[in-house]
Symmetry: C2
Amino acid sequence: MKMTMKDIAKEANVSTATVSHVINGTKHISEEKHNRIMEVIRKYNYIPNSTAKNLRKQSTKTAGLIVSSFPDSFVTEMIYGAEKRAREMGYNLLLINTNENSSYEKETINLLHAKMVDGIILAPTASGASYLNSFTDDNFPIVLVNRDDPSLKNIPKVTGDNYQTGFDSATHLLKHGHEKIGIIYAVSNVSTTVHRIEGYKDALKKYNLPFNDSYIEQGHATVEGGAEAVKSLLTREKDISALFILNDLMTIGAISKMKELSLRIPKDIALMGFGDFASANIIDPPVTNIVLPPETIGKTAFDVLLSKINNPEYNKHIELPPTLITRKSCGC
Amino acid sequence: MKMTMKDIAKEANVSTATVSHVINGTKHISEEKHNRIMEVIRKYNYIPNSTAKNLRKQSTKTAGLIVSSFPDSFVTEMIYGAEKRAREMGYNLLLINTNENSSYEKETINLLHAKMVDGIILAPTASGASYLNSFTDDNFPIVLVNRDDPSLKNIPKVTGDNYQTGFDSATHLLKHGHEKIGIIYAVSNVSTTVHRIEGYKDALKKYNLPFNDSYIEQGHATVEGGAEAVKSLLTREKDISALFILNDLMTIGAISKMKELSLRIPKDIALMGFGDFASANIIDPPVTNIVLPPETIGKTAFDVLLSKINNPEYNKHIELPPTLITRKSCGC
DNA sequence: CCTTTTTAGTTAATCGATTTACTTAACTTG
DNA sequence: CAAGTTAAGTAAATCGATTAACTAAAAAGG
């Protein structure tokens, strides 16, 4: 049977206020009443209704986690990190996947706001998120994760250092003599892609090499998308000697297609992937990857959200550095 | 500024009841007032507070999704399917990962119950979930997903047909002459594992072959766990000619280790994996897998939860059939 | 011993919606 | 035109907690 605090109070012959104080330890209650109340609570296995509590306290111990591309191994690990941290801190996470649909993103934020979540961790879609200003101006805590939106100022951010990611991977290939390096990416107009390409460009510049726009190919973030993209790119640009692929599924698709085309990796084309997917090490050839720590990004995003909740002035941008994992596919 | 219905009512010179009726269409309101109210609502971008609504309506349009092993590609896709369906039906999903910790599972269900979620989709941990009876007896909608608990009766279930999965994969290997088939699994005492092994046993029986307990090896559900398990199993049982590995990461680890041990697949050992992970096709050799449809399982679980919410008597068990994807690793 | 302070507990307002029961005016209808 | 319906709107109860303000009794202080 569903028990309310009123029922407990009646059974224990006290007021609901007393019951509440016992439960929350907000006032000293005599040993005797304390015990009597606890007994009744245990007897009926009473658990206070959080919705009522939430309404009164104007806080829900729930946060929203809005991702834009799921399932994707990077995002999945990020979710894992955030959920784990949230749990440790006594929070629950509402998971929403906008699937790169920006109008759904906007809608969702309104919905979660109305649901009175204590804050939102948002991996935004490609279209700008300037509409967020009306929320942050109202002190509704939002933290951007993974993807940055440089136009937003009063908002904390947790991302990987994508510029460095692009710079380091390009430098690694350049160092080993590759001058014509192709890039395959999935999502346009997001900071993850844009910054990696910027890093790549600057690495070229450092080596006094020209940037060639047609070495950059877009495709779907799927195995098939990677296969198509690599075919289209390598058919068009025959002199490319190395590839940097910004998405794990696409990397897998690309390798598959290159085998089909009898292109040897790394002999004919060197290859670097992004993200440390489980099979990277046993694929033939094992894939050299540059990785950003998704779990840490997720965990940190939640910590930052908590900071923002506790201090509306908190607006740091935390950028986590990449790591290069050298295996066979780049021939280095 | 945060607006309440009271503010809107005052500004529009009506009662909150009228505002509520306009918003919900629960009573006919004159054109004139209707427009006046809508205008004020738009002017302030007013969105009704769901927590208050939830408290009053005793429903939250939110469901809990409790998984026990995350991130895991199967579970991830299941989450994807469930979240997508939930969204389509106007629900949000609270995602919780119990990490195979049964006491945390119990705690979480109490918590979500108190949060007044409309129902829960639960992928239970290994330890029995008989404590669920007190919830289902109270008509709190819970559906079991992925893992079955046969001791629970008044509860709907959505699972893959794991018996058939074990039977079909064993039969496939037996048909091609393998008589000593090893199994590597991750989690004990869950229906997914138990039923697959039962199916495997029955397939052996059909071929009049004995079941050998020591062909069954357990390990951690990780790449490293798979590597260790395969080493331990193949060192102990030298005459095994085929392996069936029930987890994708372990499959990857096992292949990696077998390469290290200079065991050729499928020449020395044939191999079948479970679940259609992205890299299966480009791993060397491409992995033959038997798969159950995780996205469909997740989606169906949410549909079933909705059925259960609308009809407390709904207690079907939906079991989805496996598909065999033949590639090189089993040599068939 | 009287005043002040502290302690233990309660009453009632509050959070922000929904909804039942009621009122008043307008409209039918025989 | 009196009686019965219907329509449009509102007041107030309600959902189930928390908590400010209050009270009464006990303890402390002078």
